[in-house]
Assembly symmetry: C2
Homo-oligomer: 458 residues x 2
Amino acid sequence: MPETPTRQLRLNAFLHDTGHHEASWRHPDSAVEHIADIAWYQDIARRVEAAKLDAVFLADSPAWYGTGYRPSNQFEPITLLTALATVTERIGLISTASTSFYEPFNLARLFASLDTISGGRAGWNVVTTYNEDAAHNFGLDGVPGNEERYARAQEFLDVVTRLWDSWEDDAVVADRASGDYVDTSKVHRIDHAGRYLKVRGPFSSPRTPQGRPVYVQAGSSNAGRAFAARNAEAIFTAHQTLGDAQAFYDDIKSRAVSLGRDPGHVLVLPGISPFIADTATQAEELYQYVNGLTVPEFGLGQLEKIAGTSLHHLELDERVPAELFGGAGNVLDNQRSRTQVVANIVERDRPTLRELLHRLAGGRGHNVVHGTPVQVADVIQTWFENRAADGFNIMPPLYPQLLDAFTEKVVPILQDRGLFRTEYTGSTLREHYGLPRPASGYAGSWPLSADLPLAGAR
Amino acid sequence: MPETPTRQLRLNAFLHDTGHHEASWRHPDSAVEHIADIAWYQDIARRVEAAKLDAVFLADSPAWYGTGYRPSNQFEPITLLTALATVTERIGLISTASTSFYEPFNLARLFASLDTISGGRAGWNVVTTYNEDAAHNFGLDGVPGNEERYARAQEFLDVVTRLWDSWEDDAVVADRASGDYVDTSKVHRIDHAGRYLKVRGPFSSPRTPQGRPVYVQAGSSNAGRAFAARNAEAIFTAHQTLGDAQAFYDDIKSRAVSLGRDPGHVLVLPGISPFIADTATQAEELYQYVNGLTVPEFGLGQLEKIAGTSLHHLELDERVPAELFGGAGNVLDNQRSRTQVVANIVERDRPTLRELLHRLAGGRGHNVVHGTPVQVADVIQTWFENRAADGFNIMPPLYPQLLDAFTEKVVPILQDRGLFRTEYTGSTLREHYGLPRPASGYAGSWPLSADLPLAGAR
């Protein structure tokens, strides 16, 4: 056995019903008949674990997509991950959840419960949600601005951190003889009264295996990067080119260092959506075949949300005018980071509208690649070794077929090259990611450490 | 095989860590070391299912108990039930959740997901929560009054009902050829803007196996009974005597009939906490032994919350003055229904303080019995046949030992007497309870039917 190299790839499988390609469900071999069947997801989770990946990842927005052309979410993500936790032993379980639409005490309980049920495998992808449809489901007439959403997010994260820390690790004594179950001196009110939230605590249950779930973040706006550099332990991000990804990677690591954090504890994980086949030609044919299943009306609607303007005057085979996405004035600040990705594609590659729709159909702005297993492994290695990524959120275009192609054909290459584990060495997500288990801030003093400063620490 | 009688007992197992007796965790054979271990709960759920019981039931309040003398909750209940769903196939899964402290869209998603994951076994025990400690965890300085809590509860229930109904049962078409996944004419906004809540919808996912989870309710105040008679399909209630239970049963059924509902679709399920042994003497010895493990300081604290006054001036072996619980002015309206149970005990039985603490230690006001399997079966049959109960929420004082005693020794007697199923005949909780699956109100018109009127129906 070769010595384990210091730096190892982190690989998540980003679950998304029949696959990340918007037309995947129309593929003749798609599992669209099974996406309300929990056993189907459990089977996928077992495959991810058999391949020794770090985690499964779920996106979320508390609203219907509002279109008839795609499957809706079938499950609430934390309950879905709970069901996956019971049939797996090692893989991490990362769910997106919004700081804008949850009561912090409720969300803290859900993640704590998932962490306990799974034996320390929970991760929370902290998002602020810029979906207007979601806002309307929570008593709001629209989403607040980017800066305000992140201000609430920081306060929310500080509150749930304190709740998770409010029971010190050794608070439970369970002494039958004396009748003392809890040492109440080690259970703390948090007594938070801030700009957005008022929460007294203490938390309803003891500290969980990981202390806190792994903090993940996925925003790329300026406020999002600042939030990530301060709080995130892993960052899920979308880049089309090595250069863009390197710039982002460098920016995030620099920001983290300037806040006194260990940059190795801030993992950058771009999305990648690989069409894999034995030959490059077959891979491209598969890519084109699935693109051919798209409904242009659907893609156009999605693109108009990103552009912030109607695009129905454009012909499908007409080149997209660069100025449509170039200006910043015509899009909501909320959507600017995704708009920037599209603007870069349009400016660099000058696609037709049809080509642009196909580019976005696979990964909604994430990097869609097609090639042989070696070619896909080469992309991953190149990004990993050139400070563009610490690992990847793998977004199979078609589940489970293109997950299997990745795990059965690409992962062994990465293992042979010494870039990825052949066995799990830990049992928690923190251990897989090489992250420390945080002590309770109440066992020491706030801020706990320079590595995870808390904005509200006094 | 005998013909199945028309009316059958409904039996739930009310889970509660080491047991319902407050001192159960101190028993030498208690499972206190295992209560954070999901496998331990999964094992209990399998036993409940093997005995063909209708459901497991979980209480909940989003706060720490605030005492060092009892185990705290280890899990958030909906995630816990999700983990139990994955290792069982038939038992219903009922969780308590508060209408005061949840956003309706979030709670609707959690229960819908549980119903889908479990194949139609979810039940929601709708409570308004009068726990002051919980209110402080949700930005409030105290709990609102009883009437206001129930007004919000009614609006909340109407909102989530409409969300669950907002996808008609046949909305998903999944037609690969046309690219139509959803018939959007069958997915409806709810456009609710009421006194407490504003929710647009539609819901985020298709309709679930049961359409809606079974609606359970557990309040006994006047507002609680009115709410139950209007909305509940099963009612969990606390009574110490056959007479009290009969009066409640008659009141609820009469109220339901006067609202045009089928009284057979409003099941009344008192709690019962049985100490079971082969002889009556052994059963009483076990009861006394576990009572001897109580910490009087803990019980006194609980009793003071019910009394709404300090009791520290009383000696443990002094008779409790009847007037302490007789008046209504000295307790919060919120707590009156539980106070009434205690007042009845004090007035009828004139216990000493120690005796009263022991009476309450087992079931917090629920009916604690001790006896042989035949004696326990006799109590159940008597209540069932004399219009005091349609079934019971079984509250084993010590888990799993006294669950096993019930399932292995009492259940067979009830089966021999033709009162309880020997095999499941359905697969959903609605089928176990003999309740209809509601059609979506959007497929017809509101109110859906006289059987489940909606307050906000227009």
